[in-house]
């Protein structure tokens, strides 16, 4: 079953570009939000496997939206995709609890690698880790 993604960005060109990249890679884009308020509404409705989140948006910023989504579901997987690359902002995003941060303009390779990494289930990682330990003995 295809993993579901919610795309959040105030610029239609970015939403379209991300949708094309993810759809071509067989992810299912279940919605597009153009601000943080819509992002929370659509997340609540659809509970996607992953959210791609811009930071600078009208009504509610991406970091505030990410915080509220994570408060709703501490296991929510969010990756920030932003043109703002200040170290302080990246650190703030990590402290909020996002999984990763991509700086715009992005390549399809950057997006797909980051999405794949973010979607690796932690339980699956622990399982792989314990399997490796058994093999090592």
């Amino acid at each position: 079953m295809a993993k579901t993604v919610l795309i959040v960005d105030d610029v239609a060109f970015v939403r379209k570009t991300l949708t094309e990249i993810l759809t071509d890679a067989h992810y299912q884009v279940i919605g597009e939000a153009k601000d943080g308020v819509e992002a929370i509404d659509l997340y609540t409705k659809h509970r996607p496997d992953l959210v791609t989140m811009d930071i600078v948006m009208p009504k509610l910023s991406g970091l505030e939206a990410a915080q509220r989504i994570l408060k709703m579901n501490k296991d929510a997987k969010i990756i920030v995709i932003s043109a703002m690359g200040q170290e302080s902002l990246v650190m703030e995003a990590i402290n909020v609890g996002v999984r990763d941060y991509i700086i715009k303009p992005f390549s399809s390779t950057d997006v797909l690698k980051t999405v794949e990494r973010a979607l690796i289930d932690e339980a699956h990682m622990m399982n792989r880790s314990s399997q490796r330990e058994k093999q090592a003995r």
Binding site: D10, V11, V14, V56, P58, S82, A83, M84, Q86, K104
Partner: protein, 154 residues
């Protein structure tokens, strides 16, 4: 001094997604070119060109205006404006330790801009060339810094 920092912080060149490259052309800017800047903007607005605006605030305050031909996809150039402004803010943070926030890009009505362009405030005008599949598209950028107005708390 801050005016010069804004000029230096503009990105020189960047790849723009799958749509080619964007490059800042060497061009005179600031007060020496104001009359030409105002004429150019007036011509572009009269021909129905699209205007995109972002404000910046924090350690530096002002507006960035991007003007492109009306035949171009507005959303694409809103994103380009976002990248130009964000890279400027990032460079100011990294190299000048300045905290500058950028607003989301939005379309701007021509009549709101005319007063700013014809005001006595110093302005910067630079042009980017967007090169994609053999086509070269000029993207004109105006930066209008706003002097800081201290509120003077007791």
């Amino acid at each position: 001094m801050n005016f010069q920092k804004l000029v230096k912080a503009l990105p020189d060149r960047f790849s723009f997604y799958h749509l080619g490259e964007v490059e800042l052309i060497p061009e005179e800017s600031s007060e020496g070119n104001i009359a030409h800047s105002e004429d150019l903007l007036a011509q572009m607005l009269e021909s129905g060109s699209q205007l995109i605006g972002l404000s910046f605030s924090g350690d530096l305050r002002g507006l960035i205006l991007i003007c492109v031909d009306k035949s171009l996809d507005l959303s694409t150039y809103m994103e380009m404006a976002n990248i130009i402004a964000s890279r400027m803010a990032t460079k100011l943070a990294d190299e000048e330790d300045m905290d500058v926030l950028i607003s989301p890009p939005r379309t701007v009505q021509a009549h709101l801009v005319r007063g700013l362009i014809h005001s006595d405030q110093p302005k910067i005008r630079r042009t980017y060339f967007h090169q994609n599949q053999g086509t070269v598209i000029p993207v004109h950028a105006w930066i209008l810094p706003v002097p800081w107005e201290g509120t003077g708390h007791a």
